[in-house]
């Protein structure tokens, strides 16, 4: 688990993907990217989200999620989470989950389960910044 200041930029995402490719018994990688939407809330458009995190607990919970995934899906070889903290603009990426496995079914199933657990268990909070507000 890595907490990254600001958005997860394409270069970083590419680096993580390239770095997970090495193992010769890996046949499949399933990835999830979470991106800030320009949602309309009460007539106002979201310009950015400021993420805050209880960092020590995020790391603990991410380790638990990792253990759950690796024990529940025996074919999974590697698992990584990157999450933003601080300001992420609409259209930018705030979450990356990558699961590497021998075969496709376990990679995809483990990725779905991991994303669910991240949403339920990671102590992270959002604060919307709207287009009609000044930048912080």
């Amino acid at each position: 688990m890595r907490l990254i200041e600001g958005p997860l930029m394409p270069g970083l995402i590419a680096e993580v993907i390239a770095g997970s490719g090495g193992s010769h018994d890996t046949g499949a990688h399933a990835l999830f990217l979470g991106q800030v939407r320009r949602d309309r809330i009460d007539g106002r458009f979201v310009k950015a989200i400021e993420y805050s995190a209880y960092e020590e607990m995020v790391i603990m919970e991410a380790n638990k999620i990792s253990k759950t995934i690796l024990s529940e899906f025996e074919d999974v070889r590697a698992f990584e989470i990157l999450h933003s903290r601080g300001m992420v603009k609409a259209g930018e990426t705030a979450l990356l989950v990558i699961v590497s496995a021998g075969h496709r079914q376990q990679a995809l199933a483990a990725c779905g389960k991991a994303v669910d657990l991240i949403n339920e268990r990671l102590p992270v909070w959002k604060k919307e910044l709207f287009e009609d507000e000044p930048d912080l």
Binding site: S52, E120, L122, P123, W125
Partner: protein
Amino acid sequence: MEITVLFFGILADATGLNAKSYNGIDSFDDLRHRMEDDFPGIFHYNFRIAVNRVITEDNPVLKDGDEVACLPPFAGG
């Protein structure tokens, strides 16, 4: 006992603080009253309590130096 209380998400906005230290605390109930005095209505917010980064039930036993975190519903991802 000395207890550090952490505020996250909407509770950081509501209290205007990320953290506050309390001295001379006897129990969680005592802490609760002191927090209510400082931040009237805070216990009307929907949040859970973690003691030393582990989510606990309603009335945890505290010891000196514990970190009590107030956690509104998570919204990561």
